[in-house]
């Protein structure tokens, strides 16, 4: 996965390694873990949060397998190009608007949650608007730098984040109580296996891979990157769910907002290592900033692609103002979390998995029909 590819797209020429693209997807998918995922999983399945994590990871893998299998016929094309080829400008516009709307929903909601978390942890006195503007400034700077530096920074940061996360999980082992994992099926098989299906929306950010496809030289690499990112994130989700589930009672874990942060605060090894959050917070801020920057970049790129515009940079400032204002719409942290976990993370799977699968299936049927004639 180390081979470099340089592909000229309609808008930019970037050099990205397969690892870089995989790192971007891992970062996007893993962001949920440090925000609300464990609470979300425990709320949905109680003591079986880990089982739900396995189940939705498998569902996402099946969904991605279908997309990659059907998408083999469109090498070097992203989702918008495929839509244009299948259903003309109308389909491209409809799909573009759906994806743009979903991104314009989740980025401000995440921004608000993150700003509120930051305020709760570090900036007790600062006004919320100050914290939000500070984050937006980072996103704007990243967008002006472009996709290539973002990918490079992400590929360096992802291993560090995961080493720290794994270290945190290992060092919290003394607090483990395996009995907390029982009953194994938690809220019940129905809640996990039927109620868990919409939870596949946790992997919404995988949609970005469909826009990064032109930067991946070979179709088999696209599949490799997708599966590697999904399995890596899935394993992380399972490990964190097991850890939080075994360290705290599920009804206590349901009340925690930032499970990883709380976990990091628990760290206390002998007399020499304590307050693990000192390492956790900077990494967490950086990874969340990158998460929002990447999605922010794709908001602007999709907008320019929709309207056939040659440059994306003139819109950075406009979208920054728009996102800033949209982030103030939720009434508070609770309602932002509610919008994210209760609404978005139960429906967005349709956009990531169902819509691309339907479009690619139509393309396949059409091609078969043309070949027969």
């Amino acid at each position: 996965m180390a081979k470099k590819t340089v592909i000229d797209t309609a808008h930019s020429k970037i050099a990205a390694s397969n690892w870089g693209i995989a790192a971007v997807i891992i970062l996007l998918l893993s962001n949920q873990i440090s925000m609300n995922y464990t609470r979300f999983a425990i709320e949905s399945a109680h003591t079986a949060g880990w089982l739900l994590s396995i189940y939705i990871t498998l569902l996402a893998a099946v969904g991605f397998f279908l997309i990659s299998k059907l998408g083999v016929r469109f090498p070097g094309k992203d989702l918008m190009d495929i839509c244009e080829e299948v259903g003309g400008r109308v389909l491209k516009t409809i799909v573009g608007i759906i994806i743009l709307t979903s991104l314009l929903f989740i980025v401000p909601v995440t921004l608000r949650q993150f700003a509120e978390f930051m305020k709760e942890i570090s900036f007790f006195v600062s006004p919320l608007s100050f914290v939000t503007v500070f984050l937006i400034a980072g996103m704007v700077a990243a967008c002006y730098a472009g996709l290539e530096p973002i990918i490079k920074v992400t590929s360096v940061l992802v291993p560090i984040i995961n080493i720290v996360l794994f270290g945190g999980l290992v060092s919290i082992l003394p607090y483990f109580d395996i009995n907390r994992m029982f009953p194994v099926l938690g809220k019940g098989a129905m809640s996990i296996f039927i109620g868990g299906i919409p939870k596949i929306s946790v992997f919404f950010e995988l949609i970005v891979l469909l826009f990064l496809a032109p930067y991946i030289k070979l179709a088999k690499n696209f599949r490799k990157i997708g599966f590697a990112s999904l399995s890596f994130t899935g394993i992380n989700m399972i490990l964190v769910s097991i850890t939080i589930g075994c360290v705290a009672d599920y009804h206590i874990a349901m009340e925690e907002f930032l499970s990883e942060y709380v976990m990091a605060r628990q760290l206390n090894i002998g007399r020499f290592f304590e307050r693990g959050e000192a390492v956790f917070i900077p990494l967490w801020v950086f990874s969340a900033l990158l998460y929002m920057s990447i999605l922010f970049y794709f908001i602007i790129v999709i907008f320019t692609r929709l309207l056939n515009l040659p440059y994306y940079k003139p819109f950075i400032f406009s979208f920054a103002i728009l996102l800033l204002n949209l982030s103030f719409i939720p009434g508070g942290l609770e309602s932002a979390i509610m919008l994210d976990t209760h609404y978005f993370r139960n429906t967005a799977g349709i956009i990531t998995f169902l819509i691309p699968t339907i479009i690619l299936a139509i393309a396949k049927i059409r091609k078969k029909g043309l070949n027969k004639r």
């Binding site: 907008f303 309207l307 056939n308 515009l309 400032f317 406009s318 103002i321 728009l322």
Partner: protein, 58 residues
Amino acid sequence: MITVDTIFIFLILVWNLVYTSSYGLWVWKKGNKIGAAGIMFLVLAVTVLPIITLIIRR
């Protein structure tokens, strides 16, 4: 009451309005009328939304 931060926000909005709509005009002149209309819609949203937010917050 008009405060310094309100004036600052207003100036940013005006600057953004001029900057983005000039790009919209350029796109219009290039013949991409749908693109220009989309940009103008964005400009409108970006200008109106902060004003509404400011009014609501007061």
